[in-house]
C-alpha cells in the first residue's frame, strides 16, 4: 500500500516554545489512526500544523502528503488536495450560511481538480442526504456557520461538512469531546459511513470512549512532543485502565 501522509522528525515551536520535538507518523489510504495524549501534549498543534494554520514555526523535519511537500502549501491548497480538519473549537461565522460555505468549498475543490462547478440540483441532493445522515434539520443549512449552535451541534456540523466534502485525509480534533452519548453515536456513524479504502482518518482524542464506536487500526500515544508508543486498538483500552502515567513512566526509562 502506498503512503498518503508521512511525517518525519517534525519539530514545531509555538510562541518560542518547542511543542513537537521530532514526531514521526505514517498514514496509508484506508487506515484509521487514533492519536491520544494528555492535555497540552501537542495534539491540536499537530492538527493545526498539518492544516496550515499561522503561528506555528516548523523548526525541523518534513511532511509529505500524496508525495507533495505539505508544509509548502497554503491552507486552502491543502483543503483542495483533500485534507480536512475537524476543529476542536469550530468557529461561528454569522452572515455566512452553512450552505454557502459548503458550495464554495466544494467548488474550490472541484476547480482544483479541473472539474466544473457542481449543478444546483446535484448539490442540493448531496447536502440533503448528508444532513439526513447526521440527523441534522435542514433549516441548519440556511443558518450562519455554527451561529448559535450548541457545542454538540458544532461538532456534528464539522462531520456533516466532512461528509459533504468527502476528503482524502480527515483530521478530527477532539470531535468527541462535549458530546452526549446519542450525539457520539451519530458522529461515529457519520465517520464510519465514510470509511473507504481510499480515505484515511486521524482521530485526535483524549478519551477512549470514541474508539468504542470507531475502531482504529493504530493507536498512538503523544507525549512530550513525540509519539512514544504505537499499538492497535487494545492500547486505548490499556490507557483507559492504567492512565497515561504508567505509559509515560515506561517510555522514559
Amino acid at each position: 500500500m502506498s503512503t498518503l501522509l508521512e511525517v518525519s522528525g517534525l519539530r514545531v515551536a509555538v510562541g518560542g516554545k518547542e511543542i513537537l520535538t521530532g514526531l514521526d507518523l505514517v498514514v496509508r489510504p484506508g487506515e484509521v489512526h487514533a492519536i491520544m495524549g494528555p492535555n497540552g501534549s501537542g495534539k491540536s498543534t499537530l492538527a493545526h500544523v498539518l492544516s496550515g494554520r499561522d503561528g506555528y514555526v516548523v523548526t525541523g523535519g518534513s511532511v509529505s502528503y500524496q508525495g507533495l511537500d505539505l508544509l509548502a502549501m497554503a491552507p486552502e491548497e491543502r483543503a483542495r488536495a483533500g485534507l480536512f480538519l475537524g476543529f476542536q473549537y469550530p468557529v461561528e461565522i454569522p452572515g455566512v450560511s452553512n450552505v454557502y460555505l459548503l458550495r464554495s468549498a466544494l467548488n474550490a475543490r472541484r476547480s482544483a481538480r479541473g472539474e466544473s462547478e457542481i449543478d444546483a440540483a446535484g448539490f442540493l441532493r448531496l447536502v440533503k442526504a448528508r444532513a439526513r445522515l447526521m440527523q441534522m434539520d435542514e433549516s441548519f443549512l440556511q443558518r450562519g456557520v455554527n451561529e448559535g449552535f450548541s457545542g454538540g451541534e458544532k461538532k456534528r456540523n464539522e462531520i456533516f461538512q466532512m461528509a459533504v466534502l468527502e476528503p482524502v485525509l480527515a483530521i478530527l480534533d477532539e470531535t468527541d469531546s462535549g458530546l452526549d452519548i446519542d450525539a457520539l453515536k451519530i458522529v461515529s456513524n457519520g465517520v464510519n459511513s465514510l470509511r473507504d479504502p481510499a480515505r484515511a482518518f486521524i482521530l485526535v482524542t483524549h478519551y477512549q470512549r470514541l474508539l468504542d464506536y470507531i475502531r482504529p487500526d493504530f493507536v498512538h500515544v503523544l507525549a512530550g512532543g513525540r509519539i512514544i508508543r504505537t499499538g492497535d486498538h487494545t492500547l486505548a483500552l490499556e490507557l483507559e485502565a492504567d492512565g497515561y502515567e504508567q505509559i509515560l513512566a515506561a517510555a522514559s526509562t
Binding site: 497554503a74 476543529f87 452572515g95 464554495s104 468549498a105 474550490a108
Partner: protein, 446 residues
Amino acid sequence: MAQSTVRDEPRDQTAASRPWQVAAEQLSNTASGLDWLTERRTAALVRADCLGLPDQSQEEWRYTSLTPFARRWLDHLAGARLPAVPEPVPPTLAGVFSVDIVDGRLCAPLLATPPGLTIQSLQNLGAEWRTRVEALLGSVVSPTDTSASDSLVDLNTALLTDVVLVTTEPGASVAMPIHIRLQATAASALCQTRLLVDLAAGSRLTLSLEFTGTAAVLVNAVSQMCLGRDSELNLVRVQALPDDGMLLESTSIEAKDSAAVTVTSVDLGGQLSRQSLTVRLAGTGASATVHGLFLADGQRHIDNRTRLQHEAPSTTSREFFRGIAADRGHGVFSGKIIVQPGAAGSNAALTNRNLLLTTTAEIDTKPELEIYVDDVRCSHGATTGQLDANALFYLQSRGLDLSTARQVLTAAFLRDSLTGIPLPELRERLEARLESRLQAQSGAAR
C-alpha cells in the same frame, strides 16, 4: 431686505457672513409670491451668522473639519439662484413610486401619487399646509438638543430653493414604497435640500432617500419627520455621492404615542459625508430601530452622529451601527442615547462594530449613555478591529483562498446591516456595489 439692516451685528463678523446674506437676498428676489418665506430666511440667516460654520472646537464636530471646504462654499454662494424646475428622470427601481428632487427642487409633474399619500412643494403648497410648513421651517431640528442647533439647518432655511412636503392621510397604509432621489447636478452651487414628512395617526409609509450627484457637488440637506400616533415609518437613506461630493445632513424624527420608526442608513460615497440623525421618542410607547452602515474607503471621510432621545414612558430604541474603513478612509461614529426624566420603563440598546481593513484607515467611535431616570434598561458598546483570524483560517481550511475568505467575511459583516431594507431591488443593488468595492479592496491589498 429691510430686516437685515436692523439686525444686531453678528459676534463673529468673518468673511463668511456676507456671502450668505447676498445669496439669501438673491434667492428671495427670484422666488416671487413667497414673501412669508423671506421672513424665515432672514431669521435663519441672523442665527447662522451668529453661529458661524461648525468647527472642531465643538465636541459634536471633533473629528470632522469643514475648513477645507469653506472656500468652495463661499464661492458657490455667489452663484446661488433658484434653479429651473427640473425635468423628470427615468425611474431606476421597479415597484416603487419614484420622486425626484434635483438641486433641491421637486421635479414636476408628479404622476398620480399612491392613494393616501400627498407630495407637495412650494409651487403647489395647499393653503392648509402653509402654517405647518412655516412652523417647521422656523424650528431648529430639535428644540431640546442645543448641540444640534448648528448653523447648517439655519443655512438651509436661509438658502433653500424648495420645500418638499410628504404627508399621509390618517390610517392610510401606503402600499407602494416611495423612492426619493435627491440629485445634485449643479457643481457651481451649494445645493440645499429640505424635506418635511408628516405621517398622520395610524398611517404607514416606506420611504427611501437616495443622495446622488454629479462631480464635486456640495449638498446641505435637512429633513424633518413627524410620526403621528400609531404611525409607522420605514426609512432608508442612502448616500451615494461621487467620490468628490460632499453631504452635510441633518435629520430629525419625532415619534408620537406608539409610533414606530425603522431607519436604515448607508454611506458608500462622497469625499466628506456628515449625517446628524436625531430621533425623539416623544410619545408613550414609541419605538425606533436604527441600522447603520458606512464604507470609508479611498480618501473618504464619513461621520455619523446619532442621538436617540427617550422623552416619554415605555419607549424603546435599538441601534446597530457598523463601519468599515480601508485605504486612507476615516470613519466617525458618535451615538448617544438620552433617557430623560419622563421616560420611565424605557429600554435602549446601542451596538457599534467597526472593521479596519488596512492599518492606514481610521475609525473613531464614541457611544454614550445619558440617563436621568432609574427604571430603565440600557446597554451600549463598541468594538473596532480586524477580520477575525480564526474565521479566516476556518474558511481557508475549507478551501477558500485568503482574498475570497476576506471578501466573504467582510460581505457578511455588512450584509447584516442591510437585511432590513424593505426594497429588495435597492438592497441587492447596494449589496452588489458594496461587495464590488470590497473586491477592489482585497485585490489592492495583495
